[in-house]
């Protein structure tokens, strides 16, 4: 496939890895923010190609993982209602709430459907005027234009039986939360290439300056990630802290203006709770007043309740790059993809799930080793 295969090329990957090894003189910790990048790093064994000096940390780049527990519970409540057709991206189906997940609710008879696009959910609403169709609008800024369009079209086409359960989160506030934490270890960032395709990268300039960290907008294929790491290491070795763009074939400085305009029309920025991290101000989207009628939380009266997380789950620390999955005492034993304690083990982008699938056999749980 064009624009895909070239970036999975062995020779290119090896020469980038060799160049990184040549220029690295000190240990550096670099965080990739996006779950898609985590997936690629673990799947292609990119950390194996890097010199031991470079540590890759996995950030909270998985909107599935950071969706708060109470929102999952609200989704389960809404989905269980007989008049509802609950539509969601496949990623959300196995994320555990307080008691069960969308998959188990579906098994009990709820009408839960996987859709590829929010417009598919809108079509289901048009085709089923007597049912209530609810779409689980999860995602980073990348998915916000699509979700905004679904709501916009619902209003324009006067489709009353459609609503969205919004769980959008924004990347720059998450990066700031990580950098400002006292136990922060991250010295450089790979910013999420598709988030920046929509948003551009201007909002990262003040972060790079304030915290003196290089930020490189990076793609998702192994060659993209290696090049992003190379650019980041070059900056670190040279003491620079700038925003650079590795993913120039898709990302422009100002991003996608038509998408941003529609997002601004439909959404407003609000504080959001991040599962495992806590509340971060100005880090999420909510529907604007004009579109409030399409808010599923209001329509189904499930607003405002609080749920406690499983105490053993350390996904918050994993999401901030402070701990690695294997350092969790429950990793691979009490917490597995079949019986996850937290979202980082369920979502295929979650660091714990990625490590479980690809790396479990290589290293026994470090905690288990320490005990023996």
């Amino acid at each position: 496939m064009k624009f895909v295969d070239e970036y999975r090329d062995q020779a290119k990957a090896e020469s980038l890895a060799q160049t990184i090894a040549r220029i690295t003189t000190k240990p550096w910790s670099i965080m990739e923010v996006c779950g898609g990048q985590t997936h690629s790093i673990v799947k292609y064994g990119i950390d194996e190609l890097l010199p031991k000096y470079i540590t890759l940390l996995h950030g909270p780049g998985c909107p599935v993982c950071v969706t708060p527990l109470e929102l999952i519970d609200k989704a389960l409540q809404i989905a269980a209602r007989p008049e509802v057709i609950f539509c969601s991206f496949g990623d959300m189906l196995r994320v555990p709430g307080s008691g069960g997940d969308l998959f188990s609710v579906k098994a009990k008879g709820a009408d839960v459907r996987i859709v590829y696009s929010p417009l598919d959910a809108l079509k289901i609403a048009r085709d089923n005027p007597l049912r209530q169709v609810v779409f689980f609008a999860v995602g980073f800024e990348t998915t916000a234009p699509a979700n905004a369009m679904a709501v916009f079209q619902a209003q324009a086409q006067k489709i009353p039986n459609f609503s969205v359960l919004v769980s959008h989160v924004l990347v720059p506030p998450a990066i700031e939360a990580i950098l400002s934490a006292p136990d922060n270890r991250t010295q450089g960032f790979l910013a999420a290439g598709h988030v920046c395709t929509v948003m551009g990268f201007e909002e990262y300039l003040p972060l790079a300056r304030k915290y003196h960290v290089p930020i490189v907008v990076t793609g998702f294929e192994p060659v993209d990630i290696l090049q992003g790491i190379l650019m980041c290491v070059e900056q670190l070795e040279q003491g620079r802290a700038e925003v650079e763009n590795q993913y120039a074939r898709s990302v422009q400085r100002e991003g996608n203006r038509p998408a941003q305009e529609l997002m601004a029309r439909v959404f407003r920025v609000v504080a959001r709770k991040w599962r495992g991290v806590g509340e971060i101000p100005n880090s999420g989207y909510s529907l604007r007043e004009e579109f409030a009628a399409y808010d599923a939380e209001a329509r189904f009266g499930v607003a405002g309740y609080h749920v406690d997380e499983d105490s053993e789950c350390i996904s918050g620390q994993v999401l901030r790059g402070v701990k690695k999955p294997q350092e969790c005492p429950a990793f691979g034993t009490r917490c597995t993809p079949e019986r996850p304690l937290g979202a980082t083990m369920v979502s295929s982008e979650g660091a714990c799930a990625a490590y479980y699938q690809y790396r479990r056999h290589e290293q026994t749980s470090i905690a288990a080793e320490k005990r023996s």
Binding site: L16, S117, M149, A192, Q227, Q246, R249, N256, P258
Partner: protein, 82 residues
Amino acid sequence: MCLAVPGKILDVSGSDTSRTGTVSFGGVSKEACLTFVPEAKVGDYVLVHAGFAISVVDEAEAAQTLEYFRQIGELGELEEKP
């Protein structure tokens, strides 16, 4: 986040918020909304996420990146020679 896949636009129809196109991904075609890439035309490659094109692939930039890889590959070979 997030899965966005490059595909080639085969045809375009509609306009504004109803502008859509058939996009081919290695031979499999799927409809995508092209509202966010008003400049995109038949023959262009776009990145598609959740049924929406979010950017037009800048082929010149892509070529430049690949050229860069070729150069560092050669540089690597030069430096390895005794």
